[in-house]
């Protein structure tokens, strides 16, 4: 696995890291909870046929500036700047978990900005009858199993790499969690439901069948919100053997589904 190219863009006066790798049409990726503390096999698979561009949201690994963002409008406009400055306007966009909610917002509010959309267990809705779990109230030993079907995948994501600063690394991981909380506390409900119907991009919704955080039944709610249900424009695929961060549990299956959608 070779390293991606690292560049930095400015959002509200704060640096945000952009990772780029691969050849071919552009494909943006907004990561889920935890962000991208390291490059992933899943992204390598996408980079075989695409120029994968993964900007870090404010506060996520490689980026700061979440403390400037007080309202959901602030967040949406920060993500829009990030998409523009990373050169992703008009490209295909993949968003997962918290990044998925923002990818959906981009497609809904700025339709020219997102060509085709793939959402992996996106945040943004909350159903009283099937309440979403609380990612910010989990015992340490339970958290990995809430994030991934195979908790080890989460542990691998957040483990300090060799040579990491032992003081700053855990702070950076907590900052990513704080940034997510700042945008989605307490329930993950950003009122996205009201805007789903504005999404005109062909949309693929992927959900791990073992998602312990957001019930897989939410996939149908997204499809219904976007285009009245599953149809040609909006498809749903449930990923076997995957938890909330399905791209960590089943990178090959998730990547293949996305590449099919974007082909």
């Amino acid at each position: 696995m070779s390293a991606p190219i690292t560049t930095t863009v400015d959002v509200n006066g704060h640096p945000c890291r952009v990772w780029t790798k691969g050849q071919g049409p552009k494909l943006g990726f907004l990561a889920g909870l935890g962000g991208l503390p390291r490059w992933l096999p899943f992204l390598d698979r996408l980079a075989e046929t695409h120029t994968v561009i993964a900007p870090s949201l404010p506060g996520y690994p490689g980026a700061t500036g979440h403390t400037e963002l007080d309202t959901h409008l602030d967040w949406v406009l920060a993500v829009r700047q990030l998409i523009d400055k990373a050169g992703l306007a008009g490209a295909d966009l993949v968003g997962a978990s918290v990044g998925g909610a923002f990818a959906a917002e981009m497609a809904a509010i700025f339709p020219g900005h997102v060509r085709r959309l793939a959402l992996i267990a996106p945040f943004g809705l909350f159903d009283d009858n099937e309440p979403a779990g609380d990612p910010w109230a989990q015992r340490k030993e339970v958290l990995p199993g809430v994030m991934c079907a195979d908790g080890e995948k989460w542990n691998e994501l957040v483990a300090p790499p060799e040579g990491a600063n032992s003081v700053e690394w855990p702070i950076e991981m907590t900052r990513a969690s704080e940034a997510a909380a700042r945008a989605f506390w307490p329930l993950g409900n950003t009122g996205l439901q009201k805007r789903l119907g504005l999404i005109a991009s062909p949309t693929l919704i992927l959900w791990g069948d073992g998602d312990a955080l957001l019930p897989p039944s939410y996939a149908q709610k997204f499809a219904t919100g976007i285009s009245g249900g599953i149809n040609e424009a909006t498809r749903v695929e449930i990923i076997a053997g995957a938890g909330h961060l399905a791209y960590l549990d089943q990178p090959e299956t998730v990547a293949r589904a996305i590449l099919r959608h974007f082909s």
Binding site: H66, T67, D70, W136, A137, Q138, R139, K140, V142, S166, V167, P170, I171, T174, R175, S177, E178, A179, A180, A181, R182, W185, P186
Partner: protein, 424 residues
């Protein structure tokens, strides 16, 4: 030294197997454990105890704020304080809530504190906690990443509401109000009621208290031994900032059980202490660290080890998991001071001088301690301990104590006479 009588108002009838059957005393404690008719008696007992302490001459009675909490039945300490304002005469009323970020608009806090200040004739101390994570972030759903900024802004609004003479517009980042003009206004208006800040061991809070000239209160449940490092850190920081060592800059919480002898104290107070440290501090660690609650600066110093000890002590959830729940360890650890009056005198003087704390907040009721035992503890302390420790720090001026109206100018409150119900 100021001796202040503090009530947490714990639910006193949590079952013996509480820790086995229930994950947490806080946030998601089950409603089936709460019997409102029993709570009727608890509240009335607790308020009797506070009034009794006032009668016996404690310098202040203290209440605080908790939510969804089995050891703290005061979501609104202001309700209790307003009752105490009528049923006490000279005692200061120390309200160690309100958690400012929980009120929208925070102007409400300015108003209610001003009301109590007026009713009590200017006896109120205004405590402004951020709140432990369980209260603001989980029980009240406040965003941990915004909590401190909201708290600081709410503080600015409340203080301005107390001191600004004309109606003003408050154009904050989180609070916007076109017309701020509270009625009533506090009696203590030179410049405002004393502000005390309960906090953990964060350097930022110490610096802020110094800058604003507020009293810093370290309200740990783990006593003077565990609190020593934090208070030393506080005084070191004051020295760096060029502040004097006036002990009245600081408050500290200490559990005490006094009896005729040490053995009698053990006999009387073991059960309520073990109830408190066992059942009342049984907190699910999943509610300990909402991301953003601890600032990055404090995280950094914690990880670097400088503040590790203080940070742990300040966090009730992680601390509880590690701490003793049997009386021997509770006493050895200094969580609860016990002994004969003279033994307690010696320990209180040691706590005061070693921590350099002029405002000692005493927990003389804890856990499932009965009203009789609480009154016994309270009376014995008042009669046999208080006179022998009050002289501590007599050379220092207390600049942060309420300045009430002269007694001769205050309203005469008629004595409370229970109505006898006539038989039909």
């Amino acid at each position: 030294m100021k001796l202040m009588w503090f009530h947490l108002m714990p639910y006193t009838e949590l079952p013996e197997d509480f820790n086995k059957k229930h994950p947490s005393v806080w946030v998601d404690i089950h409603s089936s454990l709460f019997d409102p008719k029993r709570a009727h008696h608890m509240y009335n007992d607790f308020m009797d105890e506070l009034e009794y302490a006032a009668e016996l001459g404690y310098d202040a009675v203290c209440v605080n704020e908790h939510h969804s909490n089995g050891y703290g039945l005061m979501p609104s300490p202001n309700l209790i304080a307003s009752s105490l304002a009528r049923r006490t005469t000279d005692t200061a009323l120390c309200v160690m809530g309100n958690s400012l970020a929980l009120y929208n608009p925070p102007t409400r806090v300015a108003e209610e504190f001003a009301m109590i200040d007026c009713i009590s004739g200017g006896r109120r101390i205004a405590g402004f906690p951020v709140g432990s994570p369980m209260d603001p972030c989980y029980a009240y759903g406040q965003n941990p990443s915004l909590l401190r900024e909201r708290y600081l802004e709410a503080h600015d609004l409340v203080k301005k509401a107390w001191t600004e003479k004309d109606t003003f517009a408050f154009n904050g980042r989180y609070n916007q109000q076109r017309y701020v003009n509270i009625w009533p206004r506090p009696i203590q208006n030179d410049p405002h009621p004393p502000i005390w800040i309960p906090g953990g061991g964060s350097i930022e809070t110490w610096r802020w208290c110094a800058e604003m000239d507020y009293v810093y209160c370290y309200l740990s449940y783990y006593g003077y031994k565990a609190g020593l490092a934090t208070m030393q850190g506080f005084w070191n920081e004051m020295e760096k900032l060029g502040k004097d060592r006036n002990p009245y800059r600081a408050g500290f919480l200490q559990f005490v059980g006094v009896a005729e002898s040490r053995q009698q104290a053990l006999d009387l107070y073991s059960e309520p202490a073990e109830y408190f440290y066992g059942r009342c501090l049984h907190i699910d660690p999943k509610f300990a660290t909402p991301p953003g609650y601890v600032t990055e600066a404090t995280q950094r110093s914690g990880i670097q080890g400088m503040m590790q000890k203080a940070a742990n002590v300040a966090n009730p959830a992680t601390k509880a998991a590690l701490k003793a729940t049997n009386m021997k360890d509770i006493v050895d650890g200094g969580y609860v001071l016990i002994g004969s009056p003279d033994e307690v005198v010696e320990q209180i003087r040691h706590v005061g001088t070693s921590l350099n704390v002029g405002n000692l907040m005493l927990l003389l009721q804890y856990g499932n301690m009965s009203k009789d035992t609480t009154k016994y503890n309270t009376r014995l302390f008042a009669e046999k301990v208080m006179p022998k420790v009050k002289d501590l720090f007599a050379d220092w001026e207390h600049k942060w104590w309420p300045k009430p109206m002269a007694k001769s100018q205050r309203a005469a409150i008629p004595a409370f006479r229970p109505q006898t119900v006539a038989a039909e």
